[in-house]
Structures are given as structure tokens and as C-alpha cells.
């Protein structure tokens, strides 16, 4: 960690002004990722602006859904009655992430802005285009068991680590941001994170100084049939090998709406549009789930060590849809469930 300037923002305008004025400045929320990255010398901001005291921690109903504040903690959000009842998928996804201690510190804005856990990114002695553009991708021909099977480029094969963002993607969330001179933007979650392309140093489309004020969750009819499934190497406090957020609504046995997003497979939460398209209007049968999973994963390109993720992702899509059918949180859980 290197020396940096620290201030506590008086209000959002003040925070935005400070961070906009200095390209080396960063907002500091719970710090559960940024501080680690500073300790490892991966990031060395010259200035941190503490935003945890700003009044953006509410979770409130709006006309068309629910608005969750950016500085609310992950724990508060996951356990909030409205979220549990109306967006159980989001609760499940948040609670599948990190550890209780980290969730108590981490903010919602910080969660969707967290950076990849690729160890080539973390090890400053290794090449990494995300950390140091032009230095090469260490993982592309290195140890890439945990890396992307979808949407990667020769420049970067890292995956995005958040569980929460996978659920937000399935739920079609919108990220509200405010920049300098009170310019406001609303970014659909699918456009918020990026695929690496030629600029893996950019995780998302947020501009320097833009501050996330809230995340909107549009109303839906999916709450009764949603499920977040996370496959990992131990029962908690591990990033996903593959995760699937699945939600659907039914008209009899027929699927009227379906949302599927995957984590652990790409540089951004991966909306499984091909699978969704395949399932729309069809019967909710295992056979159809399987065909949908096949349709989605047809485009997958494995790396040397992660071919297993393709089979795993297919099975996970099927199981997550079955979980959603069975009533989400109340359907598949038993004490030995990996989810």
C-alpha cells in the first residue's frame, strides 16, 4: 500500500467533485476489495473519498419496483424484507457470496464494481493487461481453470466475481449514476459491465467521478419461481466455478417469462439470452431446460484447463431452472446443498 490522501465526503456532490478532479482518486465504500488491492500494490489510488456516510443506504419501493441504495451493505440488502419477499433471487445471490463478515462491510455499489480475482491480476510480478495494459494476459496460456468460457478475448480471460450482479442481471436491474455537474445516467445492468475486448483495463462503463446512487429493480412476476445456484470448491467463502440465477413465471405448465444469468463464466455477468429465447413459451420440462442449456453453451470456447465448466454450466442451468420451478429458496435447500 502506498501513501494516499483520505477524505470523508460531506455529500454526494462533494464526493463527485473530488473524484472527478483527480484521475487517481477512488470512492471508498466498504473497502473489502479495494483495500486488498492496495495492500497488494495492484491499485495505488492517490486519493480515497469515503462515501460510507452518505445517505444512499435506503431500500424503498418506487412506482415501478424497488430502489436499493448504493451505500447500503450487502447484508442489509439481502435481509431486507422487501428484497426477501419480492426479489428472493437477489437475497440468495448476495448470501451465496463472500462471508458474513465481508457482506457486513461491503456496499451494493462496491459489489458491482469489484474487480476480478484472477491471480495474474493480483500478482504484480506477472503480466496482466487489466492491471497493466499491453503487458499481456498471463492466464490465457497459464493456469486458467477458473477463467472464462464465454466472451473472452486474447487480451483477457478473467471472470467477474460478483454473485449479486448475476442476480441483478437476471432481474434486469438499472444502475443510476450521477457525475460532475449533476449529470445523471441510468445504465441497464447488461450495459454496465463490459466484455474485455481490447480494453480489459475497463471493467465497466462507469466514468471517472461517476457515483452510483442506486440500483433499480423493476417489478416482475418472478418471485415465486427463482433460484440462485452456485457451484464452488467449498461450501462458503469461495468464488463460483459456475453460478446460475434463474427465474421464471408460468402459465399453467408453460413458461411465460424466463430470466437466466450466469456467473464465473465471463468478464461480466452473462445473460443467457439464447437459452431464454429457446424457452420462451415452451413447457417447463427437463428436456427443454436441457436444450436451452445446450443452446446457450454452444458458443462457449474453453481454455486449456476449464473445459469442465461447459458441462458444469449446462447442468447448473438445468438444476437452477428446476430449483426455480420448485419454489426457489424453499425448494432445493437441504443441509447438504451446495447452493
Amino acid at each position: 500500500m502506498r501513501a494516499f490522501k483520505f477524505s470523508k465526503a460531506a455529500d454526494a456532490g462533494n464526493a463527485i467533485t473530488l473524484v472527478s478532479a483527480n484521475t487517481g482518486a477512488r470512492f471508498l465504500g466498504g473497502g473489502t476489495n479495494l483495500v486488498d488491492l492496495m495492500k497488494e500494490d495492484v491499485m495505488h489510488p492517490t486519493e480515497l473519498v469515503d462515501i460510507t456516510r452518505l445517505k444512499y443506504a435506503d431500500i424503498k419501493k418506487t412506482g415501478g419496483g424497488v430502489q436499493i441504495g448504493s451505500t447500503a451493505t450487502n447484508s442489509y440488502t439481502a435481509n431486507h424484507e422487501t428484497i426477501r419477499q419480492e426479489y428472493p433471487l437477489l437475497s440468495m445471490a448476495i448470501l451465496a457470496g463472500a462471508s458474513a463478515q465481508i457482506r457486513n462491510m461491503a456496499t451494493n455499489g462496491g459489489n458491482i464494481n469489484q474487480r476480478t480475482r484472477c491471480s495474474y491480476f493480483y500478482d504484480v510480478d506477472m503480466p496482466c493487461n487489466k492491471r497493466e495494459p499491453g503487458s499481456g494476459c498471463g492466464a490465457l496460456r497459464g493456469i486458467n481453470r477458473n477463467h472464462a468460457i464465454l466472451g473472452w478475448s486474447e487480451k483477457c480471460v478473467a471472470v467477474f466475481p460478483s454473485d449479486m450482479a448475476v442476480a441483478l442481471t437476471a432481474l434486469g436491474a438499472v444502475v443510476n449514476v450521477e457525475g460532475a455537474q449533476q449529470t445523471k445516467r441510468s445504465i441497464p445492468i447488461g450495459d454496465y459491465h463490459r466484455l474485455p475486448g481490447d480494453n480489459p483495463e475497463k471493467d465497466n462503463t462507469l466514468k471517472q467521478g461517476e457515483f452510483i446512487t442506486s440500483i433499480e429493480l423493476p417489478e416482475n412476476d418472478l418471485a415465486d419461481h427463482s433460484y440462485y445456484l452456485k457451484i464452488r470448491e467449498r461450501s462458503s467463502y469461495a468464488f463460483a466455478l459456475v453460478s446460475v440465477a434463474a427465474a421464471l413465471s408460468l402459465n399453467g405448465s408453460r413458461i411465460s417469462h424466463v430470466r437466466i444469468a450466469m456467473g464465473g463464466v465471463a468478464h461480466k455477468p452473462w445473460r443467457a439470452s439464447l437459452a431464454e429465447k429457446w424457452l420462451a413459451g415452451k413447457d417447463a420440462t427437463e428436456e427443454n431446460f436441457k436444450a436451452a442449456a445446450e443452446a446457450e453453451l454452444k458458443q462457449a470456447r474453453p481454455l486449456e484447463h476449464n473445459k469442465f465448466k461447459i458441462a458444469l454450466a449446462k447442468k447448473a442451468i438445468i438444476r437452477a431452472l428446476q430449483g426455480a420451478m420448485a419454489g426457489g429458496a424453499y425448494g432445493l435447500h437441504d443441509k447438504t446443498d451446495q447452493g
Binding site: 500500500m1 467463502y237 469442465f308 438445468i318 447438504t336
Partner: protein
């Protein structure tokens, strides 16, 4: 009732849970500075230049030390070090003495500053240029150039080389497979840390997170050219060791930094440094072949290990258990050892047996299945009551009871011989088992006991409690040996100024220090009895020593217990403030660890009191039983229950002993299912660098663990009868789990850990 064996709480437990137990990094000194090391970024080569100009401009920087300006330590000289008892370094590389780089992450410089943060920030500014050489980073490539080591820790390394082939070829039944285990890291909860403090230029104090204060002091004295008695090492509490807290380079480095800065200096390793600078368990590739006759009796066992080392002669001795378990007329155990430019491998909880039992006990399961014999039956059929190589009887051995009791407690009889027979919802359910074993030993150790005239007792020895319960069980032993309650007994350990003891390693601490403690207490009682019997004012006057008994802080006439006198009265009347006695445990000949410092004499336990290695083989045994649930869609494995039955001699404290076995089993679950450090062979760097990637079991991964002790005292290990228990708990665990996975799924995974990708 005897205190020994009771499941009493740790006497240091309250200090630990209230944060009052002081660990190495907490011994802050007045005017203390902080050191942060700079590490090599290449696997092999030379440092061409170091430019510290920018570092020196950073705020708070006091000193930048590299090979160019470092204090010249005494050079490596194994013979001279052996003579001085200073040979046992984690790696043979006195720090900052040359510009040669042997592995990525090697300490190549250290920055000393007023604060930790300043030292760390300044360290980034050091400019280092290298002349890079091609490093040896790929085990399979380097094995082509590997050597066959002649010796391992004083034993022949290659046993019956080449002799098994013919017998295997003529065996009725044969299994022959290759098993592999990955690099594992110790990661005790407490990271390594040292505070170094010089007084004048010849007195050094080290507050050091170490498994052996005497060992650390002796090695530091050697390399700084000091008298051993002028180096004091203090470690009252150590937050886990598992083998990685011998002497590693940071301890010397911080003493060099303190010398250069002329101030006390603290150096605490980061978790990332613990992945490279304090040892690891080397990866192994093991080929195990077994042959049996038509009746399922083993005719031959062959166990070959490919592994590597770097900067020491140590290599992972994974053939060890294959020289001890089972009756087989012929066994061949061999090793090939390559050299890699990777941090140096070292001892890690049950070195050898942990990966070795995975291979052997998997092979035993494969053979049992081939023979269509129950795996427990197959082991019983091939049980040996003697050390198969040396022919000695085991000092005490109840392995058959372990199998029988374990099978009963676990409900083994409901297991199907054929795999894939048991389901629970979407899970396949399987049962597996394996034999556990670990050698026992006893090293020389001195323990002093002091009794004050108020009856308070203090026990003193330079042993270490790495979390195992040494404080507590010593108090229990003394309580019985003196008839004084545990609450009146203070235990002082973890200081090289105390009577010498071996390092806490090799599961030897209990067997080594308790005979001395027992004898010292006995000597103390004899001195008290001598005072009383010679004193006309005492009720014991004129009695013979053999007529005197003791209980409840008193001596009494055995034939007439009313004739009694308290210790305090005896001492007060004799106008003694305190009385002390010291005794020394004799090592098992040829098997003891090196003991730094002067053992107390002449009050040694007679050598003939205990049998030695020429008459008996000293080993602990156990049986491990696992149930797993496998989700075949995802390849995820859950260990749902575990039974561990252990034959480890007498149990000193049922609670701390149980914790050791539970901890060992959890360690084994980690090894079986998730622990592995992978390296990028292009650069030799570890790509698993923190506890976020180096997965160890979380609570939810740990099932109910049923631990049962046979509890029969070993009559030969010592008058106490306790063998060690720190390591045996992990042995056999990964095989039991892998065997259960086979029973569940019909898939045999021979490559640890059993991560989901391997079952898909």
C-alpha cells in the same frame, strides 16, 4: 482421581480467548522500527544491480539492506553447523549473502522504516535488475534429471530397489497405479513474525513465532557468531505451526535489520509470503503396486515416489508407511528427487504419511475391490504385529481393535461392496476407510519443578505449545505426581532460557517432556520426604522413604495415613522459601531430536527404565472411516460424517487430544477435497497466493467427527505411556474419502484434491 486424562479446559484458554496471550508480533519494544522484505521476481538468475536511491528518499526510511551491504553471516558449513546443533534450517540460504536467486519470492532485500506502512510503501521503490537464467519450474521435465537420494533423516532412502518386479509379475493378483498429490501449504492462523532486539553487539533477543526456541536460538547464534547462551528466544504462545515454524530466513533477516538500524525491529510476514518463504509440502507422483496370492495375502508391496526439493536435502518421504503397515514378505520403497526453483519444501503435518497413505490406502482399496473382499477384512487379513522391516515387536499396538471398533461405530456393515448402490435424493452415497499410522518418538528433554513454601508449583521447560495443549497436560501430570490441584500449578514454557526441550515437531512433545516432569516431581517429593523424615518435629520422623505416600499436598505414612504433613509445613519448618528439582528424559536411542542447550544432570531417568529402538518399533495406528455424498451433476463431494479410532497410547487430556484428532481430520478433508497450490511453469510463480484461493475447509465442509481412543498406555514409550497425537489424525483421511467417492460413484480419482472437475 487421576487428573491425567481428564478432559479439563486449557489452562491458557482464558488468556487466549480474551486476547491476553501475547504472540510474537505483539512484543512491541520501545523505539522499535519495522522491516518489510523485498522479494525476487524471477525463478533463477542473479541480481545484476540494485538501486535504492528512490527508497531512501521515502519518508521514515532508516535503512535498505541487500547483499551489497548486509551483515556478513557465518557461511554455510553443514559439518560445523551439525556440531553446533545449528544444521536444521528451513532452507540452506543465509539471507542477503549473495546475488544469486534460487526461487521466485526469495528475500533479496529488506527496508527498515519508522512504521510498517512506510517500510512497505518504500519497498516498492527498490529498482532491481536481474540476469535471468532458465529456471527449473516443471516437475515432470525436471524428473528426467532427478537423483536417487541415498538417505533420508539418517535412514536408507532406497529400500530393496528393483527387487519387487519379479514377485509382482508372479503374484496372482496385482494392482499398479499412479497417484499424485499437489503442493500444500501449512497456513497456521498466526503468520510468522519476529521482533529482534540487540543489547550491545553480542546479546540478541528474538521474540519469534517458532516451534522450537532452543533450535532458533542455536541457529541464530551460529550465523551471527554469538555464544549460544547470548541468544534468547521467546515464544510463550504460537498460533499453530504444522511444520512451517522451524527457522526460516526472516528470523535472521530481522536480526540483521535490527543490527543495521541499531534499534529493535519487527518483521511480520504477509500471507503471500507464507506461500513462498516458509516451506510447503512438495507435490508427489507416487506409483504403488501390490501383489497378493490367491487367498488375498499380500506377497509384495512397491511404492515409488517422484518429488523434488530445493536448498535442503529434505524431500517428501511418502513411502514411510509402506515400510510399516501390513504383512508382506517383500517390499520395495524408492524415491526420485528433482530440484525445482521453487520455495523450499519442508515438513508439513505428517510429512510422508499424508500423501503416502493416500497412495497406499487407495491401492489397498483397489486391491480389496479387485478381490471382492471388504476393505476392512482385507486389512485384517494382512495385519502385521511386528515392524515388517526390522522384525521388532511394536511397543504397543491395537490396530485390529481400531478396525473393529471403527467399523461398529461407523456402521460399516451396511456398506455395499459394489459402488453406486446407495442414493439419497440426488446424491450418491459412499463409504470408505483407510489405515492411519505415524511413528512415535521420544527425545531428550529437561523439566524443572519448583515448589514455593505456600505450596504453589511451577513447571519450567523450553518446550512450545503450538496450540496442542502442552501447558494444560503438563499441569495435569504434575498435579498427579505431586498431589497438588491443577489450579496451583503454573507452567512456564516457550523461552530458550528455560531447561532445554526439543522443538514441537514429529509428534514427540508429550512423550519427551512428561517423563522428565514426572521424574522431577518424584525427585522433589523425595527431597521433601528427606527433610521430613530427618526432622524430629515431623510426624514422619524416622520413616523410610518407601513408607511415605502423598496426596492432597501432603506426605503421609502409607500404613498410617493420619501421620501426615503438608508440603508447606515441611518447607516452612525447614525455613525454605522454595525447593526445586530437575530431571531429563532419555531419548529413544537413535530416534531423538537434537536438543539445544544443557540438559540438567545428573538427575536423569535411568536409561534402562524404557525400552529402546533396538527392542521395539514405536508407532501409532488408527482407522479412518468416511461417508460422502456426491452430486454427480456437479462433481461436488460432501463428507457427511467421519469416524476416527486412534491407538496412540495413553490419553493425557481427553479434550485436547480429541481436538488434535478432529483438527487432523479437518486437515485431511482439506487435502482430500480442496487444498492445492498451483504454479505457472513459465515463470515459476504460485498462482494460488492467498487464503481466498488456497481453500481450506469452512465450517460447513466439516461433518460431525466421531473420535474414539483405544487409550491403552504404551508400556515402552515412557513411564507415562503416551505417544504423540499431533500428526496421526490427518493420515489416511484423504484415502478414506477418495475410497468413499469410489464406493459412491464407481470413479477412482488418483489425483488430489478431488475438485469438481475431476469427477465430471
Amino acid at each position: 482421581m487421576s487428573e491425567t486424562g481428564k478432559p479439563i479446559n486449557r489452562i491458557d484458554g482464558r488468556l487466549k480467548v480474551s486476547g491476553k496471550a501475547t504472540y510474537s508480533a505483539e512484543f512491541n519494544q520501545p523505539n522499535m522500527a519495522y522491516a518489510f522484505p523485498v522479494r525476487a521476481t524471477i525463478a533463477k538468475g542473479k541480481i545484476a544491480s540494485i538501486d535504492d536511491a528512490a527508497v531512501k528518499k521515502e519518508p521514515g526510511v532508516l535503512s535498505v539492506i541487500s547483499h551489497k551491504n548486509a551483515f556478513r553471516l557465518k557461511p554455510l558449513d553443514i559439518q560445523a553447523q551439525m556440531k553446533a546443533g545449528a544444521a536444521f534450517l528451513g532452507e540452506n540460504l543465509p539471507p542477503l549473502q549473495s546475488n544469486i536467486v534460487h526461487y521466485p519470492g526469495q528475500f533479496i532485500a529488506v527496508v527498515v522504516a519508522e512504521s510498517y506502512e512506510q517500510a512497505r510503501a518504500a519497498a516498492y521503490k527498490l529498482k532491481v535488475r536481474y540476469t535471468v537464467e532458465k529456471g527449473a519450474t516443471d516437475l515432470k521435465t525436471e524428473l528426467l534429471k532427478s537423483k536417487k537420494p541415498k538417505m533420508f533423516m539418517g535412514e536408507e532412502a532406497q529400500v530393496n530397489e528393483g527387487k519387487a518386479a519379479a514377485s509382482l509379475a508372479s503374484s496372482t493378483n496385482r494392482v499398479d497405479h499412479t497417484y499424485s498429490t499437489p503442493v500444500e501449504h501449512h497456513h497456521p492462523m498466526e503468520p510468522h513474525a519476529t521482533v529482534a532486539l540487540w543489547e550491545n553487539s553480542d546479546q540478541l533477543t528474538l521474540y519469534d513465532a517458532t516451534q522450537g526456541v532452543g533450535l532458533t536460538g542455536t541457529i541464530a547464534a551460529y550465523f551471527f557468531g554469538l555464544k549460544p547462551e547470548n541468544v534468547r528466544v521467546i515464544a510463550p504462545f504460537v498460533g499453530g505451526g504444522f511444520g512451517c515454524k522451524g527457522l526460516w530466513l526472516h528470523t535472521l533477516l530481522v536480526a540483521m535489520a535490527a543490527k543495521a538500524a541499531g534499534r529493535p525491529v519487527k518483521l511480520a510476514l504477509t500471507r503471500q509470503m507464507m506461500q513462498t518463504n516458509v516451506g510447503h509440502r512438495a507435490a508427489t507422483i507416487q506409483r504403488v503396486a501390490l501383489g497378493t496370492d490367491a487367498n488375498g495375502k499380500l506377497s509384495v508391496m512397491r511404492h515409488h515416489t517422484d518429488s523434488y526439493n530445493n536448498l535442503t536435502e529434505f524431500f517428501e518421504p511418502s513411502g514411510k508407511q509402506s515400510l510399516v503397515l501390513y504383512e508382506a514378505p517383500l517390499r520395495e520403497v524408492t524415491y526420485n528427487v528433482a530440484k525445482l526453483n521453487r520455495g523450499t519444501p519442508t515438513f508439513m503435518r505428517a510429512p510422508g504419511e499424508t500423501p503416502g497413505t493416500f497412495a497406499l490406502e487407495s491401492a489397498m482399496d483397489e486391491m480389496a475391490y479387485k478381490l471382492k473382499i471388504d476393505p476392512v477384512e482385507f486389512r485384517i487379513k494382512n495385519h502385521t504385529t511386528k515392524d515388517p522391516m526390522k522384525g521388532h515387536e511394536f511397543s504397543s499396538e491395537f490396530l485390529l481393535d481400531c478396525y473393529r471398533i471403527g467399523a461398529e461405530r461407523f456402521g460399516w456393515s451396511s456398506r455395499n461392496l459394489e459402488p453406486r448402490q446407495k442414493r439419497n435424493g440426488k446424491y450418491l452415497v459412499g463409504y470408505g476407510m483407510a489405515t492411519a499410522t505415524y511413528p512415535a518418538g521420544r527425545s531428550a528433554s529437561s523439566v524443572k519443578v519448583v515448589m514455593k513454601s505456600n505450596g504453589d508449583v511451577t513447571l519450567l521447560t523450553a518446550s512450545i505449545d503450538i496450540g496442542t495443549g502442552t501447558y494444560t497436560v503438563l499441569a495435569q501430570t504434575a498435579s498427579d505426581a505431586l498431589g497438588v490441584p491443577v489450579e496451583r500449578i503454573e507452567v512456564k514454557i516457550g523461552d530458550s532460557a528455560l531447561p532445554p526441550s526439543p522443538l514441537a515437531g514429529g509428534s514427540q512433545t508429550t512423550a519427551s517432556i512428561h517423563p522428565a516432569a514426572l521424574e522431577a516431581c518424584k525427585l522433589l517429593r523425595a527431597q521433601l520426604a528427606a527433610l521430613a523424615t530427618a526432622d524430629p518435629a515431623s510426624k514422619l520422623n524416622g520413616r523410610k522413604p518407601e513408607d511415605i505416600g502423598y496426596a492432597d499436598g501432603k506426605l503421609f505414612v502409607t500404613a498410617d495415613p493420619n501421620k501426615a504433613e503438608s508440603y508447606t509445613d515441611i518447607l516452612k519448618r525447614a525455613k525454605r522459601n522454595e525447593m526445586e528439582a530437575c530431571a531429563t528424559t532419555q531419548p529413544i536411542s537413535g530416534a531423538g531430536l537434537t536438543i539445544p542447550g544443557a540438559l540438567c544432570t545428573p538427575r536423569e531417568i535411568p536409561a534402562d527404565q524404557n525400552s529402546d529402538i533396538k527392542q521395539h518399533a514405536f508407532h501409532s495406528f488408527g482407522a479412518q472411516f468416511a461417508e460422502v455424498w456426491v452430486d454427480e451433476d456437479f462433481g461436488t463431494i460432501r463428507v457427511t460424517r467421519f469416524t476416527s479410532v486412534q491407538d496412540v497410547g495413553r490419553i493425557m487430556n481427553e479434550k485436547t487430544a480429541r481436538s488434535q484428532i478432529i483438527g487432523g481430520v479437518i486437515f485431511g478433508i482439506g487435502a482430500a477435497l480442496m487444498e492445492a497450490t498451483e504454479y505457472d511453469k513459465r515463470w515459476g510463480n504460485a498462482v494460488v497466493r492467498t487464503l481466498a484461493d488456497y481453500h481450506v475447509p469452512v465450517h460447513l465442509d466439516v461433518p460431525p467427527i466421531d473420535v474414539h481412543f483405544i487409550g491403552k498406555p504404551d508400556p515402552h514409550i515412557s513411564p507415562i505411556g503416551a505417544r504423540g497425537i499431533g500428526e496421526i489424525g490427518i493420515t489416511g483421511v484423504s484415502a478414506a474419502i477418495a475410497n468413499a467417492v469410489f464406493n459412491a460413484t464407481g470413479k477412482r480419482v488418483r489425483d488430489l484434491p478431488l475438485t469438481p472437475d475431476k469427477l465430471l
